[in-house]
């Protein structure tokens, strides 16, 4: 074994290499990753990627089909659909990521504490979570958004909070399993306090599962944002968002179905890509690789 391989960097690098190889053997995961990265970059650099500004109107081409100037056509105000989709990605992806981050930050500590300390606190957490899990994610999100009032920020908050119960369940489940591992017992025998045990022994061993879950929560949040915006509870027009576009497309379904189809496709493709990416990650990070 060369010296490089013996150092901790060597060990980590080797593991990353193996994981990368496994990932690259899964075409679905690779394509999904490309789509996700593409969508994120397009949203981030919308100003340069989109051919037009989302508000730019073109009264010569109202409700037109695909053409050379407007690749995906225009809406009733002559705004370019493609550009609006690209700009709309910002709202969707922002909401998707931020809602997920918020949910993790809230859910993981709750699940950790309940699962680790058990007792009445854990029972309370588990029961409350069970009750909340009875509500479908979207219903909870819609309810919360209605209370908070319509705006992208509030929609993100609502989605984040609605995503908390399933994440608590996952975090708690992982904690319950991990605390029975012998290395946690060894840490207790070492004289470690709870903070060390949770921080060094339990949490780091959950990260694969949490990463996969995050990757699967994002598409739910993206769809959720679209739903909320469609219902008028999220992004308010004229700010573009896929949900807003779907709403605006309703009166024109016969004349210009593209106004609904294209944003709809965008939602489906991006959400599907995140889902497949999450599946792929889960396969690649399978505990088999730990041994």
């Amino acid at each position: 074994m060369s010296y490089v391989e013996a150092t901790p960097l060597g060990a980590r690098a080797r593991r990353r290499r193996i994981l990368r190889r496994r990932f690259l053997r899964r075409p679905a995961a690779v394509i999904s990753l490309l789509i996700v990265v593409g969508a994120v970059l397009a949203a981030a650099f919308a100003r340069w990627v989109a051919p037009y500004s989302p508000d730019a109107t073109d009264f010569n081409a109202l409700l037109s089909g695909p053409s050379r100037e407007h690749l995906l056509g225009t809406d009733d105000l002559g705004r370019d659909t493609l550009s609006r989709i690209i700009w709309g990605a910002r709202a969707s992806i922002q909401a998707g990521f931020l809602a997920t981050v918020l949910a993790m930050v809230v859910a993981v500590p709750i699940g950790l504490i309940g699962g680790y300390y058990r007792g009445w606190l854990d029972t309370a957490i588990a029961r409350v979570t069970d009750v909340l899990l009875a509500f479908p994610f979207l219903i909870l999100a819609v309810g919360l958004a209605a209370i908070l009032g319509p705006s992208l920020l509030n929609a993100t908050l609502a989605l984040g909070i609605a995503a908390v119960p399933p994440l608590i369940r996952i975090a708690r489940g992982e904690t319950l399993a991990l605390r029975e591992e012998d290395y946690v017992r060894a840490a207790v025998a070492n004289g470690a306090n709870d903070a060390v045990i949770i921080g060094r022994h339990i949490l780091p061993n959950m990260t694969s599962t949490l990463l996969v879950q995050a990757t699967l929560t994002i598409p739910a949040a993206i769809i959720g944002e679209a739903v909320l915006s469609f219902l008028g509870l999220g992004v308010q027009p004229p700010t573009p968002s896929w949900g807003v576009m779907l709403n605006a497309a309703q009166p024109y379904l016969n004349e210009a179905p593209g106004l609904a189809v294209y944003p709809g496709l965008a939602i489906v493709i991006v959400a599907l890509a995140f889902n497949l990416l999450g599946d792929g990650l889960r396969d690649v990070l399978d505990p088999r690789t730990e041994r």
Binding site: I18, R21, R22, R25
Partner: protein
């Protein structure tokens, strides 16, 4: 005297995984006579389980199997699906190591055995039920009629293993392959299972292939022993001969590594075999044991040792066989 029941010749198994190839078994040969108990001994990774699974065709699709496995003349590796189904479970049956996971938890125990019987032997429900009770009695499960109505989780580990054996014997197979049947059981329960296997061989004439890492188990019940290392056969002999005159340094090492109760081994050290089992990702072109062997020399490092008879009915794959 008729020929061997089972003849495995030049069996090789390779797995192609994400991380490369694993040559689990390399040109393995075995033969099993009627009424014989053949013990296949080796540590983890030696290929003994893979060999057994390839006989009954239970390996995953990632396995590439070459060689020949002949049961009463029929070539199993080339057999059609229907031929294989007739043999598997009916003529050659398998008992797994973990009785916890090899029984379906949602079906009653009797029902599971019935299923096997009706599949292979076309029995009516009533006849099958009766046979189930007979079988459970055969494996010494007390109150068999009542036990047949219980679920696996209601039985202890030892009982579950007996149920597995009963299921394996249901169709009166010629060969019973048992893969580490007692490893997961307590010592006192293990003794009972070994006694049972011995009794079954005596009463029913079933030949048994017993796969284990435990030399004591082999000493207890086997007629003939095959020692495997790194996917290859290292040594083969009748049981008394192997223990009294081990030839391969690996076998000698294994025998020396086991502490024996009652022996004044307190002051002696246990025999260690330095190093570890080689990775099976490449087929070595030399003796697989060379890096751990005190007798290794140039020849060991440049050629693969072939099985040779060094004593009557005692074959070794080693360039320097001998008891010391």
């Amino acid at each position: 005297m008729s020929g061997p029941l089972l003849e495995v010749e030049d069996l090789s198994v390779r797995f192609d995984t994400d991380e490369g190839s694993v040559h689990a078994v390399d040109r393995m040969s075995l033969s099993l006579e009627p009424r014989q108990v053949l013990g296949v001994v080796g540590e983890s990774g030696c290929g003994k389980s893979v060999t057994a699974l390839s006989i009954v065709g239970l390996l995953p699709k990632t396995a590439k199997v070459t060689g020949s496995v002949r049961f009463e003349g029929l070539e199993l590796l080339a057999a059609s699906k229907s031929e294989l189904r007739r043999v598997r479970g009916r003529q050659i049956s398998f008992v797994f190591q973990e009785p916890m996971t090899s029984l379906n938890p949602v079906f009653r125990v009797g029902h599971q055995i019935e299923e096997v019987l009706r599949e292979h032997m076309n029995l009516s429900r009533a006849a099958a039920r009766q046979r189930v009770v007979e079988l459970l009695d055969l494996v010494h499960i007390p109150d068999p009629a009542r036990r047949a109505e219980e679920y696996p989780h209601q039985l202890s580990g030892g009982m579950r293993q007996r149920v597995m054996i009963a299921m394996a014997l249901g169709c009166d197979p010629k060969i019973l392959i048992a893969d580490e049947p007692t490893t997961a059981l307590d010592v006192t329960i293990q003794a009972g299972i070994l006694d049972l296997l011995r009794e079954l061989r005596d009463r029913l004439g079933t030949a048994i292939v017993l796969i284990t890492h435990n030399l004591g188990v082999v000493a207890d019940i086997a007629d003939r022993v095959v020692v495997m290392y790194a996917g290859r056969k290292a040594e083969e002999a009748p049981v008394g001969e192997l223990f009294a005159h081990p030839q391969h340094p690996y076998t000698i090492g294994l025998l020396g590594a086991v502490p024996r109760a009652g022996a004044a081994a307190r002051n002696g050290r246990l025999q260690e075999i330095p190093g570890r089992v080689p990775s099976l990702s490449e087929l070595p072109t030399h003796c697989a044991f060379a890096d751990r062997c005190p007798r290794a020399d140039e020849q060991s490092w440049s050629e693969v040792p072939v099985l040779r008879q060094v004593r009557p009915d005692h074959a070794v794959a080693c360039f320097h066989p001998g008891e010391q």
